[in-house]
Amino acid sequence: MRQTVELVSNQGTTADQEMDTSPLAIRGLTVTYGEKPAVFSVDMTVEPGKMTAIIGPNGAGKSTLLKAALGIVPPVSGRVQVFGRPLEAMRARIAYVPQRASIDWDFPTRVIDVVMMGLYRELGLLGRIRGHHRTVARDCLDRVGMGDFADRQIGQLSGGQQQRVFLARALAQDADLYLLDEPFAGVDAATEKAIITVLKSLRAAGKSVVVVHHDLATVADYFDNVFLINTRKVAEGPVAEAFTPETLQAAYGGRLATAQIDQLAVVQG
């Protein structure tokens, strides 16, 4: 499966063929809150085995795009395919890391319990938690550098550590497509480094990673592809082609100073 995916390049394939092989293909997706569209008629085709950043100004619909792709937010219109099949059939191959702020960290649960939630499907409704489940959960915590924190209550963690626990839960799912919503927002340098290391190891293992990202300065360093959005799609493709002063200007409008844009272009050039 992965072999054939690698062989399909962007050139010379029709849109339909892309949809058949892309880890995440979105067509004509529109999501509205009330009457105001948050995402309007967006097409997106994630390239397999790559790291893709979703970028855009505040309120541009980055998180909404991700949530609608996962069916968390109901779209007004549009189609989502995961590895060429309908979303519902492919849920087991997707791991989602929500924004850290979306939950109550005073919830009575330990770090290891949160990671164990990633094994929800394997455990089923009544299955007992066994030694090998705990081993998997601990391995995932080790991968994000949180092995020593397994028995802590989640409220005792710093913001960056909370984010890494969320990532460990996603790792426990052993998925093929990872969708992360602002994993680098408000985290310390150690966490940012730990997360990017894990994401790169996922890519090295042939997995596809899509990240809602806000820090323009690190885009060229971290990612292969970008997807620029401001309610509508602005640009999509490899960083060198789609992450340019022109596309940034189009996505951010007056919100970025020309000097800032030029500087970013230098960073990636």
Partner: protein
């Protein structure tokens, strides 16, 4: 008398009531916990008040059909239907209008309850059937409880518990992180409805004993009580079940031991007592523990600051600091450090340097997270690790003991 009641020696009726109440309390505590952890505890208040019109309507229907208007199964069925309608109304209001959930709860609660009271008044003026006793559903009444009534309560509670055991994982996942649950393909909306449906079922079977006004206490207080004692969700559920069962059993026994003590309110008071005890005395989360912790913390801060001041030859002005140092035999009455004081001060300064290194080193992240300026470094690092750090700091290796 109370002891007899507790040991189920107070006759057939009292025994029925106590056992039924204990089962109900357990089921209420457990099903309420999920709603509490989902931060929707007040939904149960709307659900319970929405049962009242159903009670009145079921009574009228049964009387007009020529039956006994007070048949418990019939009344409970009616109350379940109207509570279900109330639940759907609330749900529709929150999903399809701009009303927030609290406003929807208020609207449903007051309208349904008002309608129910009107129905009860009409029934009284109609003078049909033997309507006496319908008011018992407001505050609970256990006089004349039949075995069949107790069986309904036991059966309903047992059914609710079975559903909870089966669905505990998806329900907890939704309570903790609904977005992630949705991303995993869980039907979050349906699971929410299930949680509320369970609460509704418990409310309905509890109408007879606790009454609809106070059942909310039995759903919420045990969960809040349990939260004081543990940081694990599975244990919160179990403790809430035990607390609910115990307070319902105790309350029913107390009310049976003296004439004219209402069952529902006594049960609620007992469960409040458990809550108050937990609030005050629970380790970690309790009020008393917090006060003690703060005091201990303050003393340690003062002692530490005093030692660091001694080590660096700075004067100490804070009276509390001086008093603590003197009491520990670290300074003399005139404020001059003793030999022991000088040794401890030197170690405090060295530990400060060790911590500085630990905190700047990513390899020691877990240990560094425990840094609060006070913790003894020996409690988080092994002697080998400390020796290694001392080598990196340099300087004299022997700390005078």
């Amino acid at each position: 008398m109370l002891l007899d009641a507790l040991l189920l020696q107070l006759g057939y009726n009292a025994t029925l009531v106590s056992v039924g109440a204990a089962l109900l309390g357990g089921a209420a505590g457990i099903s309420g916990t999920f709603l509490f952890l989902r931060k929707r505890a007040l939904v149960s208040d709307a659900v319970s008040h929405a049962t009242l019109p159903g009670v009145g309507l079921a009574f009228l229907v049964m009387v007009f059909l020529g039956g006994d208007g007070r048949n418990l199964a019939g009344l409970l069925f009616g109350s379940a239907v109207s509570a279900g309608i109330g639940l759907l109304c609330m749900n529709w209001l929150t999903r399809n209008t701009r009303l927030a959930e609290d406003a929807a709860i208020g609207a449903v609660l007051s309208v349904f309850f008002g309608f129910g009271i009107v129905l009860l008044t009409v029934i009284q003026t109609l003078g049909v059937g033997r309507q006496a006793g319908l008011e018992g559903f407001l505050l609970g009444s256990t006089a004349g409880m039949l075995l069949s009534d107790a069986m309904i309560i036991a059966g309903g509670s047992a059914l609710a518990l079975m559903v909870i055991i089966l669905m505990r994982r998806p329900m907890m996942l939704v309570a903790f992180d609904p977005e992630y649950a949705a991303a995993r393909g869980l039907p979050v909306h349906h699971i929410d409805m299930l949680m509320m449906g369970l609460v509704m079922a418990v409310t309905v079977v509890g109408l007879k004993i606790v009454g609809l006004i106070l059942i909310v206490a039995l759903l919420i207080i045990p969960a809040v009580t349990a939260r004081f004692w543990t940081e694990r969700s599975d244990r919160v559920v179990v403790i809430a079940g035990l607390a609910g069962g115990a307070s319902a059993y105790l309350g029913a026994a107390i009310s049976a031991s003296a004439p004219n003590l209402p069952t529902g309110p006594i049960i609620v008071l007992v469960s409040f007592l458990l809550f108050a005890l937990s609030l005050l005395f629970a380790p970690n989360r309790g009020v008393l523990a917090a006060v003690l912790r703060h005091q201990r913390f303050q003393r340690r801060v003062h002692l530490r600051q005093g030692l660091l001041a001694l080590a660096q030859g700075q004067p100490i002005y804070e009276p509390l600091t001086l008093r603590l140092l003197r009491r520990a035999g670290l300074v003399r009455a005139d404020g001059v450090a003793t030999d022991k004081g000088r040794a401890r001060a030197a170690k405090a300064l060295r530990d400060e340097k060790r911590w500085e290194l630990v905190r700047s080193d990513l390899a020691h992240e877990a240990a560094a997270a425990l840094y609060d300026g006070l913790r003894e470094i020996e409690t988080v690092l092994t002697p080998d690790q400390i020796r290694d750090i001392d080598c990196r700091i340099g300087g004299p290796q022997e700390v005078p003991a």
